[in-house]
């Protein structure tokens, strides 16, 4: 009984994240901007870093404690504004306008955000960047409060994407097609990156970058092997992701290893099996 009580909140958080990330994963695979989630997470972290520095500069003489809520609010606002700026940049510097892939711009933003944070912390606060903490996170310690907050945000983003699903899908399906021109594509692109960034901020707080990255890429790749329709791919990916997460949580509790690597390796294993199965069928035909 205790394991169910203990694991229920993490499991629900995992399922929520998988549902929304499989959907975004299909978009990301189609656009070939695989590492966008790591880049956005790092950009959000850059915003948080600046909040830390501001805190350091203005509250140095004061006692800690009572202004904590204000600080997390400031950190969130800064993270969100950096996400908004990068969403604008990514929408503006689309492949079509310039001759380098957007993934290169994303990669450069990632490197810039990481190293700029290092420089700022080095100069102002004199502490280190907690890259390691951000990588792994700790889904096991997620609180019900966080789960509810996550559920609300996921529901809102999902609603926006459900209402305008045709727009978003059309945009990603024709992303590399130079002949196809959509009206207001800049605006839809911007909305896509912004909503994605909002999810990333929440998700990274709960599970860490790496698990989010795994949820994003692995189930969506697996589903790409077996279906082309958006609906089927979301269903396949969501089922695979949820089942593996449940097993990962269970075994993490049972044999006392960190949960994130278990889920990632499980998903990776299934992707490998799926690819081999597909390959065998293809070669027979």
């Amino acid at each position: 009984m205790t394991i169910i009580e203990f694991m229920l909140a993490p499991l629900i958080a995992c399922i929520l994240l998988i549902l929304i990330n499989v959907y975004f994963g299909i978009h990301v695979l189609k656009r070939e901007i695989i590492f966008i989630d790591i880049a956005l997470a790092q950009i959000a972290a850059f915003g948080t870093t600046i909040a830390v520095v501001i805190h350091h500069l203005f509250h140095q003489a004061q006692e800690h404690g009572h202004e904590h809520a204000e600080d997390t609010f400031l950190a969130y606002i800064l993270a969100l504004s950096f996400i908004t700026i990068s969403a604008l940049v990514f929408s503006f510097l689309k492949n079509r306008k310039i001759s380098i892939p957007l993934e290169a711009i994303i990669g450069i933003s990632y490197a810039f955000a990481t190293t700029a944070a290092v420089i700022i912390l080095d100069k102002a606060a004199g502490s280190d960047v907690h890259i390691h903490d951000m990588l792994i996170g700790s889904i096991l310690w997620v609180s019900w409060h966080q789960v509810v907050r996550l559920a609300i945000i996921v529901a809102l983003v999902a609603l926006i994407h459900y209402i305008f699903r045709n727009r978003f899908m059309q945009l990603s399906d024709n992303y590399h097609n130079k002949d196809c021109k959509m009206e207001n594509s800049f605006l839809w692109d911007f909305l896509f990156y912004l909503t994605f960034g909002i999810i990333i901020i929440e998700a990274v707080n709960i599970t860490g970058i790496l698990t989010v990255f795994a949820f994003l890429i692995l189930p969506a790749s697996f589903s790409a092997l077996f279906s082309k329709s958006w609906k089927n791919r979301i269903i396949i990916g969501a089922i695979l992701g949820s089942v593996i997460s449940a097993f990962g949580l269970y075994f993490s509790w049972k044999i006392d290893v960190p949960v994130a690597p278990l889920i990632i390796i499980g998903l990776g294993l299934f992707l490998l099996i799926g690819a081999m199965y597909k390959k065998l069928i293809l070669s027979r035909k």
Binding site: L29, E32, I34, F35, V89, F92, L93, K97, I98, S99, I100, P101, E103, A104, I105, I106, G107, I108, S109, A111, F112, T114, T115, A116, V118, I119, D122, K123, I131, H132, L135, I136, L210, F213, A214, I217, L218, S221, A224, L225, K228, V257, P258, A260, P261, L262, I264, I265, G268, L271, A275, K278, L282
Partner: protein, 288 residues
């Protein structure tokens, strides 16, 4: 002044060499659209090191290094040989999967090695100022061998990279792919050891991306990306020296700012050209 030059000598020489080879590979990587491959390779090399430690070899010993290189070459060969065209998944997605699973395994192993989590982030830092003449010489030898291979088959490599998205392109280029990626893997592992992952990443992508904005010509791309990479590194080292910031991050921020400026310039001029064109058309239709 002379003292400074002697002190900075190995670092600047290493920058010239590495900027050269990395920007060369960067042009290929950019054309193929597999931007994050070097981060994946560095992660696999780190995983190899951890496996070596788990097997009981001493840190920095020959055994550990051999396993690390061996691991890298096995995975990169696998990557070079598999054909992704049949599936709906792009090469960059495969890189994402490899990176993710390698990092996941590394996190698992980190629990089993005392102080294991240090090895995960070890590749992130790196300081070019600590490079020794011995390392520079060794780098020169590696680059010489790799460079020779790439000069011999330069045209072949370029044609493969250009046609990587073309589904009809020849299927019998697997051997060349293998050579390309194995040499690339060697250079990356070596370079990350000296410069750290972010500096290598940015030297690969940023100069090549900047030049790609302005020209399609491979020869010009190779030459100018080397120049940009080299000048960027030296100016970055100078800035870091003057303002007392770490040199790696200084170079990375400098070179990425250059790309953003160039990209925005290019994108804005396109938009303006388009508007002018549109107004011309409008005027013409009005006058008609």
């Amino acid at each position: 002044m002379i003292d400074n030059l002697i002190f900075l000598g190995p670092a600047i020489t290493a920058c010239v060499l590495l900027a050269g080879i990395l920007s060369y590979f960067g042009n290929h990587i950019l054309t193929r659209g597999i931007i994050f491959i070097d981060i994946a390779i560095a992660q696999i090399a780190a995983l190899g090191t951890m496996v070596g430690l788990l097997l009981g070899f001493a840190e920095e010993s020959f055994g550990v290094q051999a396993i690390s290189y061996g691991f890298t070459i096995v995975v990169i060969s696998f990557f070079a040989i598999i054909r992704t065209k049949k599936f709906e998944i792009s090469q960059e997605a495969i890189i994402g999967v490899i990176y993710c699973v390698a990092l996941g395994l590394a996190l698992l192993f980190a629990e089993m090695i005392p102080g294991g989590s240090n090895y995960i982030t070890k590749t992130i830092s790196g300081n070019i100022l600590w490079v020794t003449w011995k390392q520079v010489l060794f780098t020169l030898i590696v680059i010489g061998i790799v460079g020779l291979v790439h000069i011999i088959w330069a045209k072949k490599f370029i044609s493969i990279s250009e046609n990587i998205r073309d589904k009809k392109a020849e299927e019998n280029s697997r051997f060349m792919e293998l050579i390309f990626f194995v040499t690339f893997g060697f250079v990356i592992v070596k370079a990350v050891h000296i410069q750290g992952i972010f500096l290598v990443f940015i030297l690969l992508i940023a100069p090549a991306a900047t030049v790609r904005l302005f020209t399609d010509n491979w020869k010009l791309r190779f030459i100018w990306s080397w120049v940009i990479g080299f000048v960027g590194s030296v100016v970055g080292i100078y800035i870091s020296y003057q303002y007392n910031v770490s040199n790696g991050p200084a170079i990375v921020c400098l070179l990425s700012t250059v790309v953003f400026l160039a990209a925005f310039y290019k994108a804005f001029t396109r938009v303006i050209q388009k508007k002018q064109l549109a107004s011309k058309v409008l005027n013409n239709t009005k006058s008609i």
